[in-house]
């Protein structure tokens, strides 16, 4: 029957495009692997552990970039997690009804602002403010810690971390709000009936109930922070340093690739930058898979629990 033939063609066509989407993902890995091969072959494991980046002598190591990526993401999460959880609790448990929608809407708008504009704002508005008073104050009062030593440049790990916090707060808040809303009302009522205050109800009943979803949201934010490029490139100062000081200018994997790729020449130099991208790809892949599994598990718990 012609109708059946039409059905077959159409469903095959949709299957084809779905497979194409999966193929793009695989192609990403394969193509980057091939193009990074000269660097992988030349440097082997020392690529990860070496701190040198010398295009003239063609010696490349990724450690400072990996360090910068992890450090800035860590700073970002340290700032973003308490603020995001606080906002999520406020928006789902405390805020009066008329406030919830506008507030959530505004926080979603923050997520929609292009990264390059946050970078522009960061560079011209936030960085001068970080340099002084924040860094000068930290330097003179907590300067005995290695974290807060050295001249206050403004641009550096600290500024990049704060920018990342701004960019991941909307994500973590949105996911947290959703998983908190999924906690059954009975959990809250039971805790209140035992004489708990509202804060005790939240910290001992609501948050533990959706713990894995919250962790999933945080890791999702981490995945975004690790790969964030433009805003970080604009405020991190682009020096290849392995300094313990948060004031020090540095680089992340993404900022290194963004700022050098166009000037790179020679297979080894380009290959090394592509290998950097590959390392970032591997890290974010791992982080995103973990996040997805965690968020999915809470959602399915909710599905069977009700």
């Amino acid at each position: 029957m012609p109708a059946r033939v039409g059905d077959k063609i159409f469903s095959r066509l949709t299957l084809f495009f779905s497979v194409l989407m999966v193929a793009i993902l695989i192609a990403l890995l394969v193509v980057l692997g091939i193009d990074a091969w000269p660097a992988i072959q030349k440097f082997g494991l020392s690529f990860i552990t070496s701190i040198e980046w010398d295009p003239v002598n063609e010696v490349f190591g990724a450690l400072p970039a990996i360090y910068g990526t992890l450090l800035t993401s860590l700073i970002g999460l340290l700032i973003a997690v308490p603020i995001s959880l606080g906002s999520a609790v406020f928006l789902s448990e405390l805020a009066p009804d008329w406030m919830r929608r506008p507030c959530s809407f505004v926080i979603e708008m923050l997520a929609a602002i292009p990264s390059v504009i946050i970078g522009l704002w960061g560079l011209y508005v936030m960085v001068p403010f970080i340099r002084s008073p924040i860094e000068t104050w930290l330097g003179s009062n907590l300067g005995f810690l290695p974290l807060f030593q050295g001249p206050p440049f403004g641009v550096g790990f600290l500024s990049a971390g704060i920018i990342l916090a701004i960019m991941v707060i909307p994500i973590i808040t949105a996911v947290s709000r959703e998983v908190i809303a999924a906690v059954p009302l009975t959990q809250r009522e039971a805790m209140l009936a035992l004489g708990a205050t509202r804060w005790e109800m939240i910290t001992r009943s609501v948050l533990p109930y959706c713990r894995s979803g919250l962790v999933g949201g945080v890791i999702l934010g981490l995945g975004r922070a690790l790969g964030e490029t433009m805003a970080v490139t604009m405020v991190i100062g682009n020096s290849y340093a392995l300094s313990p000081s948060l004031f020090s200018p540095g680089a992340t994997i993404a900022s290194k690739v963004a700022s050098e790729f166009n000037e790179a020449s020679g297979d080894l130099y380009i290959g090394s930058l592509i290998e950097l991208a590959l390392v970032l790809f591997a890290i974010t892949l791992l982080v995103n898979i973990i996040a997805r599994l965690l968020v999915w598990r809470t959602v399915s718990v909710r599905g069977t629990g009700e």
Partner: protein
């Protein structure tokens, strides 16, 4: 008596922590206001008709605008949509209508992972498969990079909207003896069209502001738009270049361009949300 004062203290503590949660929310909103406020105030002071209708000028010459970059952004977004919409929509239809549960969750997983790939890596990929073999930066390679970012977003939102169409509609149409592909295109997709368009517009808003994948694909162009196989300018790319330049005139132009981009991106977001909310009611 003692128990009562303990309870009082716990209530006090609770109240304090709840206030702190409110403060956290206020801080987030304040940051948004600061970013938008500075962009609007700094941007509007440079903005003029010339800025939108004139070509950029070399260093040292005052004035000049971003006509070509605005045009370039529209071309890139159009090109990316042209590539991404068929792929994303068809994949979404497959996930919602045809895939078995195991297949669907595997493909959905791949889509979510693809959506989480940092955009700079997509740029490197487009460089490797298009810029290098063709020996030139091009609008085409940038369009492909943006399309790859767009595809999983379109696919997932299309799937979710299609799933919201009630099964009774599928059954009613099947009972009339219509074939499945005509039901899908004639009944189910039209039923989900608001959600699908919402997803597409949000994806467009996202790629319109993407910069990282353009740096080594589109490159930017001082000679206007010259076709798909030549370098092309884009608004976000120009913001990046001008913001990092040492010339105060260019820095001001970066703010003005940021103003336009914010209006474009947030404008799409706000309109889309207002429309889809009205539909829900």
């Amino acid at each position: 008596m003692k128990a009562q004062s303990g309870y009082f203290r716990r209530q006090q503590f609770s109240r304090m922590m709840l206030v702190l949660c409110g403060v956290a929310t206020a801080m987030v909103i304040l940051v948004l206001i600061l970013i938008l406020g500075y962009t609007l105030v700094n941007g509007i002071s440079y903005l003029s008709l010339d800025f939108i209708t004139q070509q950029s000028k070399p260093v040292g010459e005052a004035g000049g605008g971003m006509r070509d970059d605005i045009y370039g952004t529209f071309i890139l977004v159009g090109l990316a949509s042209l590539i991404a919409l068929p792929v994303g929509l068809m994949a979404g239809i497959f996930l919602a209508e045809f895939a078995g549960p195991k297949m669907a969750s595997a493909i959905r997983f791949a889509a979510d992972i693809l959506a989480g790939v940092p955009s700079i890596i997509v740029g490197v990929f487009a460089y490797a498969i298009l810029v290098r073999p063709m020996h030139t930066y091009s609008a085409l390679s940038a369009g492909v990079a943006l399309a790859i970012i767009m595809i999983p977003v379109v696919a997932r939102t299309a799937e979710e909207s299609l799933r919201l169409v009630p099964n009774s509609q599928r059954e009613a149409a099947l009972a009339l003896g219509i074939s499945r592909w005509r039901i899908t295109l004639g009944v189910i997709v039209p039923g989900a069209v608001t959600g699908i368009v919402t997803g597409i517009m949000l994806a467009v808003a996202r790629i319109a502001g993407e910069t990282a994948p353009l740096i080594f694909t589109a490159l930017g162009s001082a000679f206007g738009v010259q076709g798909l196989t030549q370098p092309i300018g884009a608004l976000p790319l120009q913001i990046y270049r001008y913001a990092l330049s040492p010339y105060s005139d260019w820095q001001q132009q970066a703010w003005a361009a940021a103003f336009l981009l914010v209006i474009l991106v947030l404008g799409i977001n706000i309109v889309v949300r207002l429309v889809s909310r009205r539909k829900k009611k």
